[in-house]
Symmetry: C2
DNA sequence: CAGAATCCAATACGATACTG
DNA sequence: CAGTATCGTATTGGATTCTG
């Protein structure tokens, strides 16, 4: 890394065991991250609105997901002093940039679900949580 | 769904709680899936080679990941009768199609890790497994 | 409203040892 | 070689309740 003349080193490798890339990939490869980022693509949203949009998410996991994304500077959190509380989440520039590949994933999933399932495949025996 | 005249219904929505899309997204949003699929992009690989390439993966998780991908028809498994055993994994057509968005993710991660980390951010206090 | 706190179940994951 | 079996830990995730 020190031999890099530019001072930058994009020579990260997700296939390397110890690389911090792994942690970042894990953050994105999470049950709610792709959905949360995607939800914010159309503009800032409040906690409650996110909770409704991400069907089935518990307040706990949503909060945890958002806090992680905030810590990684992918999402910003703005509190508007008021009663009752009003908090808005929005994508940062970095967040907008990761939104693209994540959208690619979501689109693929919605587009190819039928291919994965069948069409003549037993829908309930594929994709079930691993056992 | 029954009202769809074509018999097909690409109207899946990952934001819906009950949609099977969710399970598929979970399959892809897994610690090893993106790496395994990416590894196979350059051609078939054997179990041992995959294990070496995916730094740090345990045989258990690698086998589990591969079995899931096989069940979803993203990866094929071919056994060459020989002693010692010889097994090759390869992407299916469907697997090749999902490889693209996944590559997008890996590339983004490697490319933007430095942005997430800092450049003047305490590398060890961000991205740590959530606490 | 936006979450924090708590409790608990299910799962993911790793290390290791073992087998056809 | 290519896994499986077993064990133990860590993390995920949901349900619920509570508070500023």
């Amino acid at each position: 890394m020190e031999s890099c003349p530019t001072g930058r080193h994009d020579h990260h490798n997700v296939y390397e065991a110890g690389c911090p890339c792994r942690s970042l990939l894990d953050l994105l490869a999470n049950k709610w991250t792709a959905l949360a980022i995607g939800a914010l693509e159309d503009g800032p949203m409040r906690f409650g609105a996110l909770k409704q949009l991400l069907g089935g998410v518990s307040p706990k996991m949503l909060a945890q997901t958002l806090r992680r994304l905030e810590a990684s500077d992918l999402v910003s959190r703005t509190v508007y002093p008021a009663v009752p509380a009003h908090v808005e989440y929005a994508l940062t520039d970095l967040g907008r940039s990761v939104a693209e590949p994540l959208r690619g994933l979501r689109v693929w999933v919605e587009h190819h679900l039928d291919d994965v399932l069948g069409p003549d495949r037993p829908r309930d025996e594929v994709l079930q949580p691993q056992k």
